[in-house]
């Protein structure tokens, strides 16, 4: 049998569903080759319509009894959704593990340090992050978070200048003028050496004294006086030896070149 054209097929279904006898007759006249097929479809449709289950008019509608549990349709999980879900879960586990292993350790409380208003860099206690929302820096070497070595922390500042704090000086066989300059540089003290300073070789070995005290001790040993100016500078004035014809008497305690209001002591030389 040849395939029925779509429009005729559609027309046959329409006539069969309408059940109009005159429409059937007209179709048969116009398309006699499809009349048999038309009759089959009419039988099919009417048979199907008749097959509708009849409701018993005597039977009453049963009482409505709501169901407690109904398995409502669930969203179907496509493979892509599964893949995304598993990826997110894996990412979560990885993040947790990484954070647990490499995350910031609990900060230890340390007493705060009172800093002065000087020019040295401000030192704050470890753990006092000024921006708590920013993680501590990560070492580029091993990716581990590091705490600074206590030795790397700059010296804590107090209100006392460095040249007044106890220090140690060890210099062997140096010119006296060089030794004074070195002590000044180490302690931040400006040392002004007056003319006529003795050019002697000295060995300096002091512990637990401030720079000014060391200079004064040296003055006693090598014949000069260290005048503390009170502003971070010291003037080192050589004592005048009357035997050298300096113009001062041996018993005089005042140096001709020294400021008039200062007392110059006779230096004590080392044997």
């Amino acid at each position: 049998m040849k395939r029925i054209p779509e429009e005729i097929d559609s027309l046959m279904w329409g006539i069969a569903e309408s059940g109009d006898p005159s429409a059937v007759d007209q179709f048969a006249v116009r398309y006699p080759q499809y009349e048999a097929e038309m009759r089959k479809r009419i039988a099919l449709v009417s048979g199907f319509k008749r097959a509708k289950p009849k409701t018993d008019p005597v039977r009453s509608v049963p009482k409505f009894s709501p169901r407690r549990e109904i398995a409502e349709p669930r969203a179907s999980w496509t493979p892509a959704a599964w893949a995304i879900g598993l990826s997110l879960a894996a990412l979560g586990v990885a993040s947790f593990t990484a954070f647990s292993l490499f995350g910031p350790k609990p900060t230890r409380d340390r007493p705060p340090v009172v800093a002065d208003q000087g020019n040295q860099p401000e030192v704050k206690p470890w753990g006092s992050n000024p921006r708590p929302d920013v993680a501590p820096p990560i070492s580029p070497v091993d990716g581990m978070r590091t705490e600074p070595n206590p030795r790397d922390v700059p010296p804590l500042r107090t209100g006392e200048p460095a040249y007044l704090r106890p220090t140690s000086v060890h210099i062997a066989k140096a010119k006296l003028a060089d030794a004074l300059a070195l002590i000044g540089a180490q302690s931040g003290l400006e040392v002004v050496v007056a003319p006529g300073f003795p050019d002697v070789e000295v060995t300096v070995d002091y512990d637990g004294l401030s720079a000014i005290q060391i200079l004064q001790e040296l003055g006693r040993d090598y014949g000069f006086t260290a005048f503390d100016q009170g502003n971070g500078s010291v003037i080192a004035v050589p004592a005048t030896d009357p035997e050298d014809g300096g113009g001062a008497d041996a018993g005089e305690s005042e140096d001709a070149t020294a400021p008039s209001d200062l007392t110059v002591e006779r230096p004590k030389r080392n044997p």
Binding site: W13, E17, R41, L44, V45, G47, F48, K49, R50, A51, K52, P53, T55, V61, P62, F64, S65, P66, R67, I70, E72, P73
Partner: protein, 187 residues
């Protein structure tokens, strides 16, 4: 969902059920009984046509009305209440039919000869019954809505959740499958 006054007026003009729905939503629980008794037989016929089992259909009808009771607030009033109800009925019945199909296959595999035979729908023409049993539940659904419940293609489209053209195509295919299966059983 916010409905315009025009939408609401249109819906009310064509659908008396909306008044009953509004009464129920306002707290009148007896109003639901009205909807239930008004549509029980139609819903049962749809379920029975899809499931091909009268007893199972009765059970599913109770589930369908339970779902309607639970989700009546979601009814947006853009379509007739009956169309919305049939959509729930069709979806639920197809879902159950698929489950039942799986169950029946399982029973056949185990050759459980003593298994209780479900109370199947008795058709006047056994060939129609044979063809219907071989069809997929969604094909059965569209034939039931069109030939038994005599819904228009627009109403079928609403009930199946598709547009009219899709409904037309689905009807055409279902009809052709039915014809093919019917003729197979004839020969």
């Amino acid at each position: 969902m916010v409905l315009t006054a025009v939408d609401k007026t249109k819906a009310l003009a064509f659908d008396d059920d909306i008044v009953v729905v509004e009464r129920f939503l306002a707290g009148d629980e007896a109003a639901f009984e009205i909807l239930y008794s008004r549509y029980h037989d139609k819903v049962h016929a749809i379920a029975r046509g899809i499931l091909l089992d009268a007893e199972e259909a009765s059970d599913v009808v109770q589930e369908i009305f339970t779902l309607v009771l639970r989700h009546l607030k979601r009814f947006d009033r853009r379509s007739r209440f009956s169309t919305w109800l049939f959509r729930v009925a069709v979806n639920r019945s197809i879902q159950e039919a698929r489950k039942a199909r799986h169950k029946h296959r399982h029973v056949e595999l185990r050759e459980a000869s003593d298994a209780t035979v479900p109370e199947e729908v008795e058709y006047s023409d056994p060939k129609i019954q044979a063809a219907m049993e071989k069809m997929a539940p969604n094909d059965r659904a569209i034939l039931v809505l069109f030939y038994w419940e005599e819904l228009s293609l627009n109403e079928i489209a609403d009930s199946l959740g598709c547009n009219v053209n899709a409904a037309k195509t689905r009807l055409y295919r279902a009809r052709e499958r039915f014809r093919s299966l019917y003729e197979e059983s004839e020969s």
